[in-house]
């Protein structure tokens, strides 16, 4: 539906003529191809999200409020997004006003003493980190990487990442939020609502942070967040990364109090034990099973390629024949990456000593190949800046994660019944069989990437099995979809709980639009009480239903 001239004019009066468009081709650049990343519902070949009614670029909370009020008046849906990297940020229905939050990109404050920052929606992780580093601080960067909006991660999405063990996940880090609610009122959560600084999200009374987000945020389906305050963390390194090297193989040499390792273990139990022990000891700054996303069989070759600017994917086959790389790859079967950062020389020495003791106790070791200087420096920069997360899609442009076995480290690394392989190995074998069909990259079954920690202080591990395919290739895309269907069935049979491969199909269906009610209700029935309460939140705060089905509700 095209907006009427009058309605268009009303919006233009708010944001100015340069900041609104309903040009069809421009609107098509605000559609998401559903054969892509982290949509966890497809992939669907050549299916796109609906075309918006118009795109607006608001520049202030006042403009956002005016827009939302106008949407209420005309019963138009509204869908904000900051960086537009994921189907969550796109409309479910026609007749939706899309808000591109790009112009609201300021870091409003970094309170160095009390270690928090106040940011607008389009501040991405890399930028906040760079500015924080200047004053000896750092920000949590969530899993999809530093190209993503800090505010979106904290208010709208999930917010876990490789550094969560030390720097929390964004649900914990959110100290305040400014929220244009769907009814057009502005809520400032926490102390900021009382006209004070942004140091706490709690109070007065019950904490309204609980309404902003839970395990996940609102996915842009309930109002528009225009500011938030995020806790920052100490950074005992230089004021900026002294990056060397040629693209893409950037590397950094950091002072000796910041060290990065790939740890490997001879058993999965040892792997899990190590997680518990590093949490208990309180060591480590970043910890993640990162490079496994390339696949168990390919990760050795891939890290070599990525850290060498003369190499490309064409070198993979040759490299896989190299006995040294084969050995290196095999060594990293059960691995994860860790960065330890000491605030003082004594601190780093103690941490590294403890790490060695833990490795001794758990049958683990520091992978020698990753200590070689180029790889070491490449990996250190990678893990700290997390600026290469588009590598999720390196092979052919399509990736999604399945299984998503999550919970305690013991859950994924243990066998459900005696005599069986561990869950991660079962998931590996299952995927390997499907790799044989040719539709997904033959990566060795185990493409399981995930955080060591999950949230501050540790407690969870995550096993998102990366699956790579070609979104331009119908067979590949549809074959991947079939695989994900089979994965869901496999998980159900095994009683492992829902996998993440289809976790958004309650919101968006195979045609790219809102999931039909009866299907949605079936899919959400497991969360009955919670989603019924969310229905009531929606009725209370979104009386004209401006938000979309990504906000889970049950009647």
């Amino acid at each position: 539906m095209t907006l009427s001239k009058d309605v268009y004019q009303s919006f233009e009066d708010i944001v100015g003529s340069n900041n609104i468009s309903d040009d069809p081709a421009l609107l098509d650049s605000y559609r998401y191809h559903l054969a892509h990343t982290a949509i966890h519902l497809g992939p669907y070949y050549r299916v796109y999200t609906p075309r918006g009614a118009a795109v607006l670029l608001p520049g202030s909370v006042e403009e956002v409020q005016a827009i939302v009020r106008l949407c209420n008046k005309h019963k138009l849906r509204v869908k904000p997004s900051s960086t537009f990297w994921s189907a969550w940020g796109y409309p479910l229905e026609d007749n939706t006003i899309q808000l591109d939050m790009r112009r609201m990109d300021r870091i409003l404050e970094i309170d160095e003493k009390n270690m928090y920052a106040v940011v607008e929606p389009h501040v991405i992780g890399a930028i906040l980190q760079a500015e924080a580093m200047k004053v000896g601080l750092n920000t949590h960067i969530h899993g999809p990487g530093s190209s993503c909006s800090c505010l979106a991660s904290a208010t709208a999405l999930a917010g876990f990442g490789p550094d969560s063990m030390y720097m929390g996940q964004h649900s914990e880090n959110l100290l305040g939020a400014e929220w244009v609610m769907p009814d057009g009122e502005i809520l400032r959560v926490g102390a900021a609502g009382s006209g004070l600084d942004w140091y706490t999200c709690d109070g007065p009374g019950p904490s309204l942070k609980g309404l902003v987000r839970g395990g996940q945020g609102t996915f842009g389906g309930l109002g528009v967040f225009t500011k938030c305050a995020l806790k920052l963390y100490p950074w005992p390194g230089p004021a900026n990364f002294p990056v060397e090297g040629k693209p893409p193989a950037y590397k950094v040499k950091l002072p000796d109090n910041i060290r990065g390792y790939t740890l490997a273990f001879s058993t999965w139990k040892g792997w899990a034990d190590c997680c518990y022990m590093i949490w208990e000891a309180g060591i480590g700054y970043v910890a993640h099973r990162q490079y496994s996303m390339f696949g168990r069989d390919l990760k050795g070759a891939m890290v070599k390629i990525l850290s060498d600017h003369t190499k490309t994917l064409s070198d993979i086959e040759e490299m896989l024949k190299d006995p040294e790389i084969q050995e290196f790859t095999k060594e990293m079967h059960r691995d994860f990456q860790i960065v330890v950062a000491g605030m003082t020389p004594r601190d780093i020495e103690w941490q590294d000593k403890v790490l060695d003791k833990i490795l001794e106790a758990t049958g683990g070791w520091k992978v020698k190949g990753m200590l070689e200087s180029d790889l070491y420096n490449w990996s250190l920069l990678y893990m700290l800046r997390l600026g290469h997360k588009n590598l999720n899609l390196v092979y052919a442009g399509g990736y999604d994660g399945c299984f998503g076995i999550g919970g305690t480290p013991d859950f994924g690394t243990s066998a459900p019944n005696e005599g069986e392989p561990e869950r991660v190995e079962q998931a590996t074998e299952f995927k390997k069989e499907w790799e044989k069909k040719g539709n997904i990259v033959a990566a060795g079954g185990d493409g399981m990437m995930g955080g060591i920690g999950g949230f501050g202080g540790g407690g969870h591990a995550m096993w998102e099995n990366f699956t790579h395919f070609d979104p331009h290739d119908k067979e590949s895309t549809e074959g991947t979809l079939e695989f994900f269907g089979a994965t869901s069935e496999f998980g159900k049979q095994k009683g492992w709980g829902p996998g993440m491969e289809k976790m958004n199909d309650y919101a968006r269906w195979t045609d790219g639009r809102t999931t039909p009610k009866e299907i949605r209700e079936k899919l959400l029935s497991g969360g009955g009480v919670a989603f019924r309460y969310q229905r009531k939140f929606k009725e209370a705060f979104d009386p004209n239903s401006l938000g979309d089905g990504y906000y889970r509700t049950l009647d």
Binding site: N18, S21, D23, P24, A25, L26, D28, S29, H33, H36, T37, V55, L57, F84, W85, D100, R103, R106, V123, I124, A126, I127, Q129, A130, K134, S147, N240, F241, V243, K246, P247, P248, V252, H309, T312, L313, S314, I316, R385, G387, H388, K389, N390, L391, N392, L393, V394, Y395, A396, G397, G398, G438, N439, V441, A442, A443, D470, P471, H472, S476
Partner: protein
């Protein structure tokens, strides 16, 4: 290749946004994190590489047609290649810059042209230059210069002045300086004077492929006739045209930018410095010398898949990702000049911010072009430098104009200026 040949890329675009920023590893501040001037200025997603992939696909799929907005999206791009570098941090099978160029070429073929561009191209056809100036005056910069003309005497090394350096009165002296430096260092060099014609590179970047080819033919015919083997130029646009756009046409000359030649001569001891130039300067990497100035590697192959679905090429495709651009020679020159203190901006080398003049932007979108240049001036000022030094006439002109508009005081110099001062 045609625009349709990039449909795979359009569908394989990850929609990750990296194309808008400099490589994320290199981000040092909020102020200077952006890489793509087009989206930084215009804000809508369509103005990024990711956006242009989507717009192109929409047009190809006939979901939309050319509108003023679409034309604006297509042409408001300096073809600086920043998106290409950033995309290729993570992707080995995506060519956003090539696609953008094909999109422009298609728009021109479809008659979707800008009057400002049309005027320039019409002039190019008639007068062999992009400066709306008479062909007859092209050689005026060399009046009184003791240098042979290759149309009269065969010479292996030709100095190609380029349109901007030939006609721009503020820059002509730098052209003379370059030739003089090379000649005095013993290089047997010639020029074409008023017989020189445009390299065609800017026409290509505007989408006028046929006019580029014609200009290239004209130029290379003259060179061949003169026995030229090596081409030297101070203009980054020309450097890029000769080294990257000409070889696919079957033309293979040794191509050097002046800075490469000077660097060589300095290292060989054929240029010696006897004076001090006490100056704090910063260096701007021209896009067409830097990330777009990588050596051409011939390739004629096709896509294939390995490990089921990994997209690679047979034979292995050369990867243009900015790693091999000309970054060190200019810096080596500057560091070797006594007294010069080189302070780097935050965005340099393959992730340098564009000057704003390329891709037809200066001609058709002066506000955008000026804004882009002003951003760079701000970045230069942030280093505390007295002068912004570069190695391209188009960059230097755009900076001069921006400084003048803003009433700034920063000097704009060519590398050859400093070399001359130090000799």
């Amino acid at each position: 290749m045609a625009l349709e040949d990039y449909k795979a890329d359009m569908e394989r675009c990850s929609q990750c946004s990296y194309c808008k920023w400099i490589p994320l590893d290199q981000v040092k501040s909020w102020r200077f994190a952006k890489g793509c001037p087009s989206i930084a200025y215009s804000n809508f997603l369509s103005y990024s590489a990711r956006g242009r992939f989507a717009v192109a696909l929409s047009l190809l799929n006939k979901q939309s047609t050319y509108t003023d907005r679409v034309v604006d999206v297509i042409y408001k791009c300096t073809t600086c290649g920043s998106c290409d570098v950033s995309d290729k941090i993570c992707r080995y099978n995506l060519e956003p810059l090539e696609m953008i160029q094909e999109l422009k070429i298609r728009a021109v073929e479809d008659g979707q042209v800008l009057p400002q561009h049309t005027a320039v191209i019409e002039h190019l056809k008639k007068e062999n230059n992009m400066m709306m100036a008479p062909a007859a005056e092209r050689g005026d910069w060399a009046k009184g210069l003791d240098v042979k003309n290759i149309t009269e005497k065969s010479t292996e090394v030709v100095f190609h002045a380029g349109c901007r350096f030939s006609y721009d009165k503020d820059l002509q002296e730098k052209t003379r300086t370059a030739v003089t430096l090379l000649k005095n260092a013993g290089v047997d060099i010639g020029i074409m004077g008023k017989e020189e014609s445009c390299c065609g590179g800017r026409a290509y970047d505007m989408g006028y492929k046929d006019d580029f080819v014609k200009a290239a033919e004209k130029t290379t015919t003259a060179w061949k006739a003169a026995g030229v083997k090596t081409v030297v130029t101070s203009c980054a646009d020309c450097f890029h045209a000769f080294s990257r756009l000409y070889p696919p046409l079957g033309e293979n000359f040794e191509v050097l930018h002046t800075v490469q030649y000077l660097d060589r001569l300095i290292k060989e001891g054929k240029i010696k410095f006897s004076k001090t130039v006490p100056m704090r300067i910063t260096y701007h990497d021209p896009c067409h010398l830097g990330r777009r100035g990588e050596p051409y590697v011939p390739w004629d192959g096709k896509e294939k898949k390995i490990m089921n679905q990994i997209v690679v090429y047979e034979p292995t495709k050369p990867r243009y990702n900015g790693a091999w651009g000309v970054y060190d020679p200019p810096r080596d020159i500057l560091k070797s000049i006594p007294g010069v203190e080189l302070v780097e901006m935050e965005r340099i080398k393959e992730y340098a911010w564009c000057c704003g003049s390329g891709g037809g932007s200066r001609e058709a979108y002066p506000d955008f072009s000026n804004w882009t240049a002003t951003e760079r001036i701000e970045e230069a000022k942030a280093t505390g430098a007295e002068a912004l030094v570069s190695a391209c006439g188009w960059c230097e002109r755009n900076f001069l104009d921006a400084i003048s508009t803003a009433g700034e005081k920063m000097q704009v110099l060519d590398i050859t200026d400093l070399v001359k001062q130090a000799i």
